[in-house]
Symmetry: C2
Subunit: 364 residues, 2 copies
C-alpha cells in the first residue's frame, strides 16, 4: 500500500524530529551491550536536563505515557492512603481511576474543564493527604496549571506529602522544573513535544519518594525497585536484568532529546510559545472562540470551539483526506463541540500554522 | 558516534527483518487514523495466523514481552485462586512472582533446569487449581516443553482450568497452536523469532478466559476490558480511546509478520529447525556439551556448557569486540557456566551458524 505522510496536528502523536526517525532504523544493539548501556545512561542524563532535576531515578519506562501514570501510583499508594487529585480534564479523571485501583482513598477535586487547577481548593479538600496529584498540561483541554504553586502550598502545610504531576503534554514544550517546584514523581510521553514516536514514558522520582516507595507493588513490570537495578545499577552498583529494554525506541528518544538540547530548552519553549500564540490569534481572527481559559492556554495544544452549525467530524475528515492534516476531536462530552490542535516538537513551526489556518479557511 | 552493526546471537533481541526496520522509519500515522486502524486490524489478523487461533482478542500489548505475562495474570487471578506453575527456568520463576503479586496462592512445581515440564507432576501438584501455567520455550535454558500434552491432561480432569502459556521464544520459530492445544492465554515478544525490535507483546485470550476475566484488575494500563474496546471495538462495535498506541512499533510488527507469513509458517519453522540442528551438531563436533535435555532442545535457542577452564565472560567479550557477535550468558546460577546462542527470525540462517562456529573456534 502507498505510505501516507500525514501532518499530525492532533493532541499527539506528532510528527517526530527527523533525527528520532532515523535512529529508529539504526542497527539494533542488544539490551545489555556496553554501547547500548552508554546510550541509555546518556538518555537518562538528557532526561534529567529536560525535567530540570538531579533525580538519580530518571528513566524511560517501557510503555506509552499512561504507563507513567500507573507506575507513579503503583509505587506510592498504600491501601487506604488519601490521595487528593485535582481533576480539570480527562487525565485528572484517569488519575482517580488508577489511584483507586491501587487502593487509595481518592478525594477528587473537580474543576470546570477548560479552567486551571486552583491550589487552594486542592489544599482545602483534605487536611492530611499522603499524595496530592494534578495534571500540568491537560491534553484534553489545552490548559496549563501552576504545579509550582500547588506543590508549594501543599508543602507549606505538610512537608511529608508526595506530589505527583502529569507532564505528558508539557515536557520539552513548556518549562518543567521538577526540583525547583518540589515535585516527587512525574511522567511524560515521547510523542508530544519531545518529538519521538509513542512507546516510552519518561519518568522521574525524587529521593524521598524513592525511600518511601511501596516495597512489593502488585505490578512486577512497573516495580521501580526492580527497574532501578537495571537502569541505574543496584545497591552494589551492578546492573540486573529486569525486562528486555525497547532498544530501538530508546535510541530514538536519545536522538530526539539530542535535537531538543542542541537547539536549547529556552529556544524550544520560545518556539512553542510563538507558534501557539500565532495559531490562537489566527483562529480568533477567523472568528472562532478558544476553549481554554485566557492566561492558562498551552501554546503546544490549542482547544477551540467548533462554530455553531458546523459538523466537527466532517471538517476533520476533509482536513485529513484533502490536506493530509490530522487534528483532534474534543475529549468526552466535548467530542462534537471542540477541536484540539497540537503544535508540538517538530511541528511547532510557522509553516504548520499557516498550513492549518489556510486549510481550515477553505473547509469552513 | 559511529553506529555498530552487531550480529545479535544472544537470547534476544535478534537482528530484525529488514522489512521490520524499514517500517519503523515510515511516516507516522495518528493512533486513530483510519489507515492506522486498518493496519492494526491486519496486524491482529496476522497474529491470529501465527498463534494458530481464531480468538477475537488477539493483539499486541504496548510493552515488552514481560508485560504479556503481567497482563495474563492480572486479568485472571482472583485473590486466593490456586495457580499451579511449572518452573523449569527463570521465566517460570517469574510467573510465580507475578501471579503471587496479584493474589494467587502459587503452587510451584520445580523441575531441574534444562529439563522439560512433566505434565503428570503438574497435574499431581494440586487437585483443583484455577490456573495452570507453564513456559513453552524457556529462554533461560533453551528447552521446549509439551504444552499440548499439559493442557490436555489438565483439561481431561477439569474443563474449567485456565491454561496460560509463555511463548516468548517460541512464537514464529516453532509451531504454536493455541486453539488445538486448548491454551486460554498466551503471550510473546517481538524481538525473538518474529524478527522485530523489542517493545510489543503479542497476546491472545480465549473466549472463555475473556468471559471469566477479572472485571476491574489493579492495573489500568493492562485492563483487557478497556484495551479490547480500542483494539477490537467495544460492545457497540465502536472503538474507544484507551492509551496512545505505539504506532511505529505496530507498523514494524505488521511488516515483520508480513515477512514471516510470506515465507510461510511451515517454511519458517523448518528454517529454524535446520539451522538450530546445524549449530548444535557443530558445537558438539567442537567437543562442547549441550545444556538442554536431548529431544527437548529448541532450535532457535541453544544452551551450551562453557568448557572447563574457559572464562565465559572473556569469550563473550572477544566475540563482541573482535567479531561484533553478541551471545548470551547463562541465566542466574549458570551465568558463568553456560552460554545461550540464539538463531531467531532473520538470524535463523546458515551464514550465522558458520560465522559463530568459526569465531568460536578462533576464540577458544
Amino acid at each position: 500500500m502507498a505510505l501516507l505522510d500525514r501532518v499530525l496536528l492532533g493532541p499527539g502523536p506528532s510528527n517526530p524530529y527527523p533525527e528520532a526517525t532515523l535512529a529508529l532504523g539504526a542497527p539494533l544493539l542488544g539490551h545489555l551491550d556496553p554501547e547500548f548501556l552508554r546510550l541509555l545512561d546518556e538518555t537518562c542524563a538528557r532526561l534529567r536536563t529536560v525535567w530540570g532535576t538531579a533525580n538519580r531515578r530518571t528513566l524511560p519506562l517501557s510503555g506509552t505515557g499512561s504507563i507513567g501514570m500507573e507506575a507513579a501510583f503503583a509505587n506510592t499508594v498504600r491501601k487506604g492512603d488519601v490521595a487528593v487529585i485535582a481533576v480539570n480534564g480527562l487525565f485528572g479523571e484517569r488519575m482517580c481511576d488508577v489511584a483507586g485501583r491501587y487502593g487509595a482513598e481518592v478525594v477528587r477535586v473537580d474543576h470546570e474543564w477548560g479552567q486551571p487547577v486552583d491550589p487552594q481548593r486542592v489544599l482545602d479538600a483534605h487536611p492530611r493527604p499522603a499524595i496530592v496529584a494534578a495534571v500540568h498540561a491537560e491534553t484534553s483541554t489545552g490548559v496549563r496549571s501552576d504545579i509550582a504553586a500547588l506543590a508549594a502550598a501543599v508543602r507549606a502545610r505538610d512537608e511529608g506529602v508526595l506530589v505527583i504531576a502529569d507532564c505528558v503534554t508539557s515536557l520539552a514544550g513548556s518549562p518543567v522544573l521538577i526540583d525547583d517546584w518540589g515535585v516527587d514523581l512525574a511522567y511524560s510521553g515521547t510523542q508530544k513535544c519531545i518529538g519521538v514516536s509513542p512507546g516510552l514514558a519518561p519518568f522521574t522520582v525524587s529521593e524521598r519518594a524513592w525511600a518511601r516507595r511501596v516495597p512489593h507493588p502488585p505490578t512486577w513490570y512497573l516495580d521501580l525497585g526492580l527497574i532501578g537495578d537495571y537502569v541505574s545499577g543496584g545497591a552494589g552498583g551492578g546492573r540486573t536484568y529486569h525486562h528486555t529494554a525497547p532498544v530501538a525506541m530508546i535510541a530514538s528518544l536519545h536522538a530526539g532529546l539530542g535535537r531538543v538540547l542542541e537547539e536549547g530548552l529556552p529556544e524550544v519553549f520560545e518556539r512553542h510559545r510563538l507558534v501557539g500564540t500565532a495559531l490562537q490569534n489566527g483562529l480568533e481572527e477567523m472568528g472562532l472562540k478558544l476553549f481554554a481559559a485566557e492566561g492558562h492556554r498551552l501554546p503546544q495544544l490549542t482547544s477551540v470551539w467548533v462554530p455553531d452549525g458546523v459538523d466537527s467530524a466532517a471538517v476533520r475528515k476533509r482536513l485529513l483526506t484533502e490536506f493530509g492534516i490530522e487534528i483532534g476531536a474534543g475529549a468526552k462530552e466535548f467530542a462534537a463541540t471542540v477541536w484540539r490542535i497540537g503544535l508540538m516538537g517538530h511541528n511547532a513551526r510557522m509553516d504548520r500554522v499557516e498550513l492549518l489556518l489556510g486549510a481550515l479557511r477553505k473547509v469552513l
